[in-house]
Symmetry: C2
Subunit: 216 residues, 2 copies
């Protein structure tokens, strides 16, 4: 299975490439191909240092979509709509949204678009045959790249297609010690996305770092 990462040179994107490339063919996309190639070179060095397998290709965002079976949108919420407007070829692909629309004053809060969630907005922007799944929303950005740390968290997955949901849950379960949970249809993604500002507030107000969640 080929996994394309749109925004693969950002912090989360690069971390996901590191975590996924030992087991999958990972295609790292960027607006600039040279940046994607540089990220792949850095990832390759980190992985080889640890004797981990590595299947990485640095390309443009568009080619990352074209070559992939599963596309991960590893971009901040404010860049999602402008980025998607420049891209095509999502037909029949599984598209994973780890995107959280969050604002901040003295605390973090959930600021969803009119569609109710980033996931529903993304679904509305893509062709009908694209299957959008919300997943990985509550894993702290910093944790992805810390390859020597175990990711021991729960991951809620929302999707309207049972087969695609199973594929994404298997993908989640293949990463470190992440455990996937079926969290219902895509409409329910708003409550998954809104958990992230809560985790950021918990970190902020209790002197903690990179707070994650376990469902027990």
């Amino acid at each position: 299975m080929k996994i394309g990462i749109v925004g693969g040179t950002g912090e989360i994107g690069e971390g996901m490439a590191l975590r996924l490339s030992p087991k999958y063919d990972v295609i790292v996309g960027s607006r600039e191909e040279t940046k994607a190639i540089a990220t792949c070179d850095a990832c390759r060095a980190s992985l080889e240092e640890r004797d981990l397998a590595c299947n990485l290709l640095g390309v443009t965002n568009q080619r990352a979509i074209d070559e992939a079976d599963v596309v991960i949108l590893a971009i901040p919420f404010r860049h999602v709509a402008p980025t998607l407007k420049t891209l095509t070829g999502f037909e029949d692909k599984i598209v994973i949204s780890p995107v959280n629309p969050i604002e901040r004053t003295t605390y973090f809060y959930y600021a969803p678009p009119p569609e109710g969630s980033a996931a529903m907005m993304i679904k509305g922007m893509l062709p009908e045959s694209a299957i959008v799944c919300a997943a990985f929303n509550n894993v702290a950005a910093n944790k992805w790249r810390a390859l020597d740390e175990v990711l021991d968290y729960s991951v809620a997955v929302c999707c309207d297609d049972d087969g695609a949901k199973r594929t994404v849950m298997d993908l989640v379960n293949s990463v470190s010690s992440l455990r996937a949970y079926d969290a219902g249809p895509l409409h329910a993604a708003s409550i998954v996305e809104s958990l992230t500002p809560l985790l950021l507030n918990i970190a902020r107000f209790n002197g903690m770092k990179d707070v994650g969640v376990r469902f027990v």
Copy 2:
């Protein structure tokens, strides 16, 4: 410290009385005093069976407020507004809201009132000197009464008053293995309340029961 439980004969209210009465004076309120007295008798039997101390008084909801320093509103969201309209005497009290506005179709979702959360709606209905705290929102209803089970969960606490927040966090930390976390101001309570329908969905779609949460 005296703790009054409005709706103390419901499932969560009775469970809270059981969990809190070994350490605090607990005043169980109900619309009907006879029901409150019956609940206290049942709690007393459960606690004595386990050689646990027991400080319980069954009264009306109004008297539970009048006698308490801290009032817990252990009532379903749909009953909150009508119940509060019949009650007075909240001046200068700490009022804990474990209330979650939740609706259900094929899945559970967050359905807050126009004020943005149950906690903010409650604040708007009470006198200005009442200090509202959101707490205990994500502990499964069934778990409260299961006295022989350890409650090993995280509890997010939202409040605009630092002293009251500390009092409520200490109260949380006194119950079984619950651990309190400062989750920011009362405005941030919506994302705490909305975590509960996510936990209900996780339980529903993964064949689990009484799912709780840990911040890690």
